[in-house]
Amino acid sequence: MIEFPLDIILPVWNRPVDVRAALASFVSDSPMARIIMVNNGSERETESILDEFAEALDDRALLVATARNIGTIAALNLGFSKSTAPLMLVASPFTRLSAGWFESVAAHLANRPDTGSLKIAKAITSTSSPSIESDHGSFDSMIIRNTLYSAIGGFDENMDGSLWALRDFARRSLTKGFLTESLFSRNLTLLDYRELGSDSKRKERIFSARECYMLRWGGQRTFLLNCGDFLFGTDASSLKNALLQTARHGDRVVLTAENSIARELKSYGFAGMHENVSFQPLPRFFSQRALARIIESTLALDAAAFLISDSPEFEAGLQKLSFEDFLAMTDKRNELYC
């Protein structure tokens, strides 16, 4: 039996044209992969396309069928359970990965043994860093290590079809020491599609998934750290670790610093360290006005945001928190969930 380094998990429900195009693209551009097609109660036309590919690809394809539509997440979990490869790619009929995509992904993962899941994101600019730690993955293109799946299982089926299922997966990964990352790739194209189902029902589903997430992991908190020369009495490396720990638990961090200190922090890699950490250096001139704008936007994001400032007299209409309390809060969450 041939051992494939990657299994592509493709849940399918109708859309025969897109399914055929996606399969054709995977067959030609991902020759190293086995395709696990999960027929999630499709009609005859789509069914026959899947049969056709399964027959033609022989060992390179595995067709799993469900008698009824069990939802996308359950279909993905079913696909995971059939996977034997060390890596799995979560894909949709709208995902296109051009030739050569796997090499960069494999090289990246080889250097990052801690990364359990890797979202492949579309590279927007040529200057953007190749990867960033991420808050959550994606249902369109995400690599999951089989070791991670063995440790935590698949997605939570109670959170079907929502971002909260992905966030929950990232939090559960962290409890086993696995990180979630995004890798920017020029090989990825995501075709446009409109989600089926009414907006009101979608909102209801998202709300219920959010409730489920909150119950398990607590709410998402926002911290605004206004960093001065004092650096909260700690060193840059410890500060970075504290911020990363907070961000990995799903909390948002907004870090501002005066121009001079910002340059130093940047050299320590504070910019682009995690999707949940927004590093916003203040300009040399009119820095207070810029800070006021940042505070305003932070409040708009979360009215209950905390302010941690190096200058105790600084007032901004946010709940104040000492850096020690901030560390204590982060440590408590870490103890609770890891």
Binding site: G41, S42, R68, N69, G161, L196, G197, K201
Partner: protein
């Protein structure tokens, strides 16, 4: 050159929507509404040279069903929702088009024809060609459940899921519609005709009494029900005793007819259940709220909505005018050409 003539003649013709059903054909005239509602029956006389001559179409031909001499046959060109005899269908279409246009032979209307969702590309092509050779200038095909959904007033262009069950003479189409497209459909070759057949067989088996298809249809309309009602209705049925060969009368009741109809009715309920099971949760959630809409003549079967409600636990509604839903829907699409282009199927 021909295109110029087409354009000119098109200016003097009005657009039509045709519901080419197994049992009845309905024609919608843009601006006038439903102008023809006749049975899909054609009476044909076989000539000595082997050719066929159409004697009557529609109501007139239906009266001849089973009462024709040897050389005249009354044919139903549609069977199980699809065209069984293309030549006769073409004749029937030509007759209806000419009847609407007061027999002006030069007019070439734009026509929308409803087809069952399960038909093949070859069948679609054949329907289109039949209509074109019957005089249509431009032919659009719409799948019956889509037309029924438009006719029932469902918000088909929205992302929310809508479920429609169109119970016609030959087929029952169950479809889930979203974003002006059929996202899931199940077609079963069970409809009013199969119900009539089931009644004929039941009476034959139970009373050794042979009745005709038309009588069976009358019984279905008078006594037919899918779920027990408050009162038991009865009627006298005349037929030929299969043992003695003498005409005989028997009294039958609605309980018996419900039993007779259980097989075709269950097939319809099963199709609805399969469709619901295979619909993804994001669309099923909308159907739970909005319910299932019944259209087509079969929707008039007493308590069918109650049975489906009981079996699925979902709200079930009968469209306002179930018999005309399909043709009204296709007629509505004639008024909105953009909608027509987005819902028409390619052939």
């Amino acid at each position: 050159m021909l295109k110029i003539f087409d354009y000119l003649f098109g200016m003097f013709s009005t657009d039509l929507a045709i519901d080419l059903g197994t049992a009845n054909t309905l024609v919608y005239h843009k601006g006038k509404g439903i102008v023809i509602r006749e049975p899909s029956v054609v009476a044909v006389q076989k000539m000595n040279n082997g050719q066929q001559r159409v004697l009557a179409v529609g109501m007139e031909a239906k009266k001849m069903l089973g009462r024709t001499p040897g050389n005249i046959t009354a044919i139903r060109p549609m069977k199980d929702g699809v065209i069984a005899d293309f030549d006769i269908t073409e004749e029937m279409l030509r007759y209806f088009i000419h009847k609407v246009h007061n027999r002006k032979t030069l007019v070439r209307p734009r026509i929308v024809i409803c087809v069952p969702s399960g038909i093949t590309q070859v069948e679609k092509r054949a329907v289109k060609e039949s209509a074109e050779s019957a005089g249509a200038r431009e032919v659009y095909l719409i799948e019956e459940p889509m037309a029924a959904a438009i006719g029932a007033g469902l918000p088909i262009t929205e992302a929310s899921g809508n479920m429609i069950v169109d119970i016609g003479g030959g087929t029952t189409e169950v479809a889930v519609i979203s974003l002006a497209g059929i996202v899931y459909t199940k077609s079963v070759r069970v409809g009013g005709d199969k119900m009539d057949e089931a009644i004929v067989q039941y009476i034959k088996r139970k009373y050794n009494l042979l009745i005709g298809d038309q009588k069976a249809e009358t019984i279905k309309i008078e006594l037919g029900e899918a779920y027990p009602g408050t009162a038991v209705r009865t009627m006298e049925v005349k037929g030929r005793d299969l043992v003695s060969g003498i005409p005989k009368t028997h009294e039958i009741n609605s309980d018996e007819i419900r039993e007779a109809l259980s097989e075709p009715v269950n097939a319809i309920v099963d199709a609805v259940k399969i469709c619901l099971e295979r619909t993804p949760p994001e669309l099923a959630a909308d159907i739970v709220d909005k319910g299932i809409f019944l259209a087509g003549g079969g929707a008039l079967l007493r308590n069918l909505d109650t049975l489906i409600r009981e079996e699925t636990g979902l709200p079930v509604f009968i469209a306002e005018d179930p018999l005309s839903c399909v043709v009204l829907g296709s007629g509505k699409s004639l008024d909105e050409l953009d909608l027509l282009r987005s819902v028409a199927v390619s052939s």
